[in-house]
Amino acid sequence: MGRFDGKVVLITGGARGQGRSHALKFASEGADVAFCDIAAQIDTVPYPMARSADLEETVKLVEDLDRRCVGDVADVRDLAQVQAFVDRAKTELGRVDFLLANAGIFSFGTVAELDSTTWQDMIDTNLTGVFHAMRAVLPTMIEQKSGRIVATSSMAGKLGFPNVGHYVAAKWGVIGLAKSAAIEVAAHGITVNVVCPTNVATPMIQNPAAYKLFLPDAENPTLEEAAPAFQSLNPIPVPWVEPIDISNAMAFLCSDEARYITGETLAVAAGFNANNAG
């Protein structure tokens, strides 16, 4: 018996990384899974994004757990695509219980130098994409008078960071969006929360472009060279947490054990947050 037997979880950005980990965590606790992923490159993103092979692998891994899985290609920047994904999930899996608004990208540039395409891709994906996912599921959740939404923000949603102002702006925006939605839908028995990770061991930050962000003076920094710089953020001496640590927080917030937690930001941040409010 799992905590999520008979439930359906929807995940954006589920082809790999945190999204895949969420899919497997929820499936291992009994949920059927529907996820979408762009499964293509966005030109302003300086590392290889997920591909259709990744998407298919997540489907296979969920099915290996004897749960049903819908894996759809959809770009969260386009509400029509997100709505089509949600509609397909409802049709094929029969219901919508949880939304994990996880899809996100990472890119770099100072505010003085960012080009408008890099800015816009970031805001469209990491902030508007979360709105689109909420917009697509909330009418169903309101009608059924139940639902759990967890959006992925970041410690960059609580602090400022150089070289990623667009990412920071989007992640702060996610918190404002989630808190507002939490108020709007509380009377319908729906909770809306946010998880704020520190660095997570995924391809989004384990790539040469991200290492360069942490070690700007190194020519070709490696993971081993970058790890101490990543670790300097975290009082608990780890350079990054694992995707499962974020999945565990998502599962807690979707479980009955958290039925009265809403509008909250939960840092899974190895103590990076202890210096700061929230």
């Binding site: 939490a182 108020i183 009265y260």
Partner: protein
Amino acid sequence: MAGRLEGKVALISGAARGQGRSHAVRLAQEGADIIAFDVCRQLPTVGYKMATPEDLKETAKQVEDLDRRIIAREADVRDAAAVKALVEEGVAELGRLDIVSANAGIATFAPNAWSIEEDAWEETLAVNLTGVWKTLKAAIPAMLDAGNGGSIIITSSTAGIKGMAGIAHYDSAKHGVVGLMRTLAIELAPHSIRVNTVHPTGVNTPMVVNDYMAQFLAEDVGGTNIMNLLPVELVEPVDISNAVLWLASDEARYVTGTCLPVDAGFLQK
């Protein structure tokens, strides 16, 4: 099925009834042995009936009925020597210390901050803030000695995040434990001991559900203090226990320095 806290030992203050008893039972359900204490007598400035030795015995019985071990003692969080002696006895008996729930607290009211009686201010700060520090001062060396890391969960309140008329002393103490938590989170991170606070809204316990509180809520000063966003008047003790359990469990191994409200959305209003 193995529990989420199998083989762990948890110290819980204010464990005779209410949230503390619920934490003891919930953590025991997941496999933990318990070191429980409570002052078990009336404090002079408190306007509702406090827990009794019989209440603490009932907590012990409920834990033992789950086939877990419990050391339950009458002790005052304001008495550092007593808490230290209890920790030593508990660790000698149960072998280790992994989890601390610093839960003991009192609540009293006044029309406003400037009319709080000095003895009420001092008693509230002594129990709700200094009592937490004394509990942790006793517990942390034992946790460090055991070398297993661990998790400390301090019970703050929604009043530890926002101001509320009529409870300046309570509000100050509950804000204070957040500062203590954040500092300890940094100091203990190298030892893999995590420190977090939980922030309940009104909970269905004898501290809240009593004539004294009813009178406070009936007066304008506190009437809006307990209105939640989710359609529920009071949350149940087990809702706080579930948050404590999650923070105590390995699922939260990288969660430290956080404030976790269990407030039915109260703070979002």
